[in-house]
């Protein structure tokens, strides 16, 4: 029990008629992770989170939260809190009353944590107002407060910064950072790359319901290798040289540049080969790989090929 990971998802599938919303998802969130569940809108992130919280039944596969199946009853949610999509409350009740209701439904002394939770999300001053008059950002913060009432060990947040203004987004990130520093395991779905890159140590990247990468961000970046851009006085000849050169990854043309992946030594050898072939270099520059690049290459390209490439590349050689 103590060794069971906070979240273990295996072979998770959700089908709505013809549509495969979640397609054979495997992921593992370990204790202490701040785990980013990253994908474009409509990739099936929210559907996966709903299955993790036991709100919808998987078509196939299973979820385990600390080893427990959320479909077998709410005891699986002990120590687990979070929300999917925008957190929702009773608009005709005040923020505090809403939290009182949730605390009553939680039991286990949750009522004693209301003031602390309101203070943490900086809503103490507006707690007496009806939620119907709250802004989107305030509801988002109240959602976090509602989750904190459960004193969770695992927090699942679905797009927590969506719809917030820049200051709100910054505050939300600081808050998540602080909760993670206090030892909470966090799973965070997002389509905002900077958010995930700043907060998370591990990610799953999902595209049309399928995971195309799962692992540490550091491994993903390292494994992707350095990408170079090249421009020469004779690009046609240069491409032929590149393709013949050992140690270079797939060679392609993008935005008028020849692009390939290579390590520094292979790039140096290439420069010599180019000169010998009479294609003089006007530019040979390594590109910094951001999570954003990786994300788009994984989510917009040919998914099978890129996914496999990333998966193999992710293992540092």
């Amino acid at each position: 029990m103590a060794d069971d990971p906070p979240i273990e998802v295996r072979g998770l599938v959700k089908r709505y008629g013809e549509i495969l919303a979640v397609d054979d998802v495997d992921l593992t969130v370990r204790a202490g992770d701040v785990y980013g569940y990253l994908g474009p809108n409509g990739a099936g992130k929210t559907t996966s989170l709903r299955m993790m919280l036991g709100l919808i039944r998987p078509t196939a596969g299973h979820v385990r939260l600390f080893g427990r199946d959320p479909l077998l009853g709410v005891h699986a949610l002990e120590g687990v809190a979070g929300f999917v999509e925008a957190p929702q409350f009773y608009p005709y009740l005040s923020g505090r009353r809403n939290l009182e209701l949730l605390a009553a439904y939680d039991g286990h002394g949750a009522g004693g944590r209301i003031d602390q939770a309101l203070a943490t999300v900086e809503l103490s001053g507006r707690a007496g107002d009806r939620v119907g008059g709250y802004s989107h950002g305030m509801r988002q913060r109240l959602g976090i407060a509602g989750a904190l009432l459960r004193a969770p060990k695992l927090l699942l947040l679905d797009e927590p910064a969506t719809g917030l203004d820049p200051a709100g987004m910054r505050d939300m990130r600081l808050l998540i950072r602080r909760l993670a520093d206090e030892g909470m395991t966090v799973l965070l779905s997002s389509h905002l790359l900077p958010e995930v890159e700043e907060l998370c140590n591990r990610v799953a990247i999902v595209r049309t319901g399928k995971i195309v990468y799962e692992g540490a961000i550091a491994d993903l970046k390292r494994g992707a290798g350095a990408t170079y851009r090249l421009s020469t006085t004779d690009d046609e000849r240069a491409i032929a040289v590149c393709r013949a050169q050992r140690g270079l990854g797939e060679v392609s043309i993008a935005h008028g540049y020849i692009c390939f992946s290579a390590d520094a030594a292979a790039a140096a050898e290439l420069s010599q080969a180019l000169v010998e072939a009479g294609a003089l270099i006007t530019l040979l520059a390594p590109e910094t790989v951001t999570l954003e690049d990786l994300f788009f290459s994984l989510t917009e390209g040919d998914v099978a090929a890129r996914g496999d490439a990333a998966a193999t590349a992710a293992v540092p050689s």
């Binding site: 929300f83 929702q88 608009p91 005709y92 009553a104 439904y105 939680d106 039991g107 286990h108």
Partner: protein
């Protein structure tokens, strides 16, 4: 204390106190008898074509009974449906099902608390209506003996007792309507559809009862059970319609309640 169905029940009642529809239904339950008594004060004489209609000038005890007769057509089913049809669907509308289903209460406990709250509301509305009708009726026509449906005269205290028991018997079909409201609320996810659907169901059964050739169904229609209390006002008491109301209403209500419960337990909470 660990939370349970009673926690949900208490909070559902508290939530009802903050919602306008609650007061719409209870307001109607209070205002209708007052308006009725005001109307007969001006007209001098009640509706002559219904049981106890001729008696409302002579005894205030007849007033709640006449209102029970009229209210069965659509007023009480509507008041009942206002909350029963809304109590699950409003969670869909507000997107709050996911909020409460990810706490420490099982779906069964949440549903039970809601069902109890919807039933409580309907019971309070009927009893409130009866109490107001009694008081207003007695103020207008006095706390006088009542003539039973068999023609015998019943003393005022005994008459009061019979009115109170009649109200309780009236709750049997009302609780069946609560169950149907809960079922529609659970499966439609839409408050308006569930409220209107419950009312339409009730009206349709009344229509079936008056269709030529279908008169044989009359004793088994839910609408008929709203008249079961009249057995109490016969001498000797006719228990047959009351016993029939109990099992006929159970046949309508329990499958609806069970269906609603199972749907609520298993449904995907995908909206909101």
């Amino acid at each position: 204390m660990n939370p349970g169905a009673l926690t949900v029940y208490r909070w559902e009642l508290r939530k009802l106190r903050y919602q306008k529809r609650t007061y719409l239904g209870l307001g109607a339950a209070v205002v209708v008898p007052i308006l009725f008594v005001a109307a007969i004060s001006f007209r001098h004489g009640g509706p002559h074509d219904v049981a106890f209609g001729d008696y409302i000038d002579r005894s205030g005890l007849a007033v709640p009974l006449v209102i029970l007769l009229f209210g069965a057509i659509w007023m009480f089913p509507l008041i009942t449906a206002l909350v029963a049809g809304d109590i699950v669907a409003s969670e869909d509308h507000n997107g709050t099902l996911k909020t409460i289903l990810t706490r420490s209460l099982d779906r069964g406990q949440i549903f039970s608390g809601k069902a109890l709250a919807a039933a409580t509301y309907a019971i309070v509305a009927i009893l409130l209506d009866g109490a107001v009708a009694l008081v207003a009726g007695c103020l207008k026509s006095g706390f006088n003996p009542l003539q039973s449906l068999s023609g015998t005269i019943v003393s005022a205290p005994k008459g009061l007792e019979l009115v109170i028991v009649s109200l309780l018997v009236y709750l049997i079909p009302i609780l069946a309507i609560v169950c149907i409201g809960l079922l529609l609320s659970t499966i439609t996810h839409n408050s308006a559809a569930a409220v209107v659907g419950t009312l339409m169901f009730s009206l349709l059964l009344q229509l079936i009862g008056i269709l030529p050739g279908l008169g044989g169904l009359q004793p088994y229609l839910l609408s008929t059970q709203f008249n079961a209390w009249q057995g109490l006002l016969r001498t000797p008491t006719d228990w047959a319609p009351i016993i029939r109301a109990a099992w006929v209403c159970a046949l309508y209500g329990l499958p609806a309640l069970g269906g609603a419960y199972l749907v609520f337990l298993r449904r995907d909470v995908a909206g909101g």
